[in-house]
Symmetry: C2
Subunit: 284 residues, 2 copies
């Protein structure tokens, strides 16, 4: 008995033809995800890829995701020449995607925003926690600013604010509210920024500054912060002061987080809303 | 006269050696950006890349960015083997980066969040603008939901809310406030979502639904929306109703946008904050 097989096919004892495919798992949107881990030469990858796409097309699959660790960079060109497009990338991997059906693709958009936090922390003596940074725009300028930082992958905004304050100054603080947020564009290439101005209440008072990023940290009287030239000339410094004062002196209402179950997948997430006063939604 | 030159060097008439480098522009952080446009074979690219890195190292440059359109996928492997890492990718290009100095790299983090909007639009008859979608989770379920959509690259949140309402239903509406926002994680692979629940006031009332995405659109009495089974069982449907009622009936205070000049680069951006009532910060 003779069966014509190509290099990706295997023949079992009973003569049934088995085609070798890329290792894939199904996603919940009718697509498949290939998480490549082992080294492979480009020719072998091409053979498996073509056989796999044929199979998935027969099965009515939609999006095909291939995650290539940077060590498998030798396979990128092959995937692109077979019609894959880039979806997103992180330092150590590249995610490629291919849409099989004739219909309009409904692939999720890529991440478009970086998210950061700034933390207003004021003690009972009306002193604000401020730092001087070792790098960045204000390096060597003598400018005192509030602790700021980028929200880590998968991190909640309110936890990022608490973490940044602890990391930069050693101060433990309780998260109170998001007082405001700012959206700005083209922060790096075509990507945008969302920066959340948060109010925290300090629970400890002895500063231990971080060596790596922070030149100096201290409690500064609010009048002194207000008197800095940069607070007079730079809008965001002024707004941060005014937001802090509005919260401290006039009970300004920002947004605070409420733990909810996501509508779509039963995952827990946080809804940030105005929870002060009488107008607040009553959730059972 | 004989001078040893490699393939990337040129010798002018006066015998001065000129090294051919990749086309680059300086960025404001002491780095360089290479925006590759023309086809090039990988060997020639390697020669230019090595000569360029040497030159930039002598000049004290820090981050080196290389933007490769997907048509130049043949150069990706070369760049990675020379020490470049992925930074981010969009369907049609890949951004690679290399940090020259010995010091800790201060390259900006990649975008981590996708941003979307949901629009609560209620008319004077206390009817809410709702749609049924042609694809997605609620396809064919009979569920009526508010118009939602992803914020485009470089688009302001409040503009996205107005645009989505117009696109899906043909209704012109004025943006009022962000009533709340939700942060959720691992929405696609490791990336997170920030979804802004917005309140808009309708300015027109005749619905013209979009053919591509929308199965049906109508004005629905709030009691009817409340009575949908999904509003009873799904937290976000319930929260959207409660937020809308809090705004309509009890003057709930959300965040509204204020045009400000960015502290860093004089670019205009929007600060979203609570601008209702007496506690509001007074910005001159």
């Amino acid at each position: 008995m003779s069966i014509s097989v190509n290099s990706s096919d295997r023949v079992c004892e009973n003569g049934i033809q088995h085609v070798e495919l890329l290792p894939a798992t199904n996603d919940v949107h009718g697509g498949v995800i290939v998480d490549m881990k082992d080294a492979m030469d480009a020719q072998h990858f091409l053979t498996l890829l073509r056989a796999s796409i044929s199979q998935w097309r027969r099965e009515g699959k939609k999006g095909v995701w291939i995650k290539l660790p940077i060590e498998l960079v030798n396979l990128v060109e092959t995937a692109v020449k077979e019609g894959f497009r880039y979806h997103h990338a992180e330092p150590h991997y590249l995610m490629l995607v291919y849409w099989i059906p004739e219909t309009t693709n409904t692939l999720p958009a890529n991440a478009s925003h970086r998210v950061s936090v700034g933390a207003i922390v004021v003690n009972d003596k009306k002193e604000m926690l401020v730092v001087q940074e070792k790098s960045g725009r204000f390096q060597g300028t003598g400018v005192w600013k509030i602790p700021t930082g980028v929200v880590d992958e998968g991190e909640d905004i309110f936890k990022a604010a608490v973490r940044e304050v602890k990391e930069e100054t050693g101060i433990d603080a309780e998260f109170l509210e998001v007082l405001a947020f700012r959206q700005s564009h083209k922060s790096f290439f075509e990507k945008s920024d969302l920066s959340f101005v948060c109010m925290l209440h300090p629970q400890t008072f002895d500063i231990e500054k971080q060596e790596l990023e922070i030149e100096a940290a201290k409690w500064m009287p609010l009048e002194e912060y207000a008197a800095q030239p940069v607070t007079q000339t730079h809008a965001l410094f002024k707004y941060i002061l005014e937001l802090g004062l509005a919260k401290l002196d006039r009970d300004y209402a920002g947004f605070s987080p409420l733990h909810i179950t996501s509508v779509f997948d039963d995952k827990l997430s946080f809804l940030y809303l105005n929870r002060a006063g009488d107008a607040v939604p009553k959730f059972s």
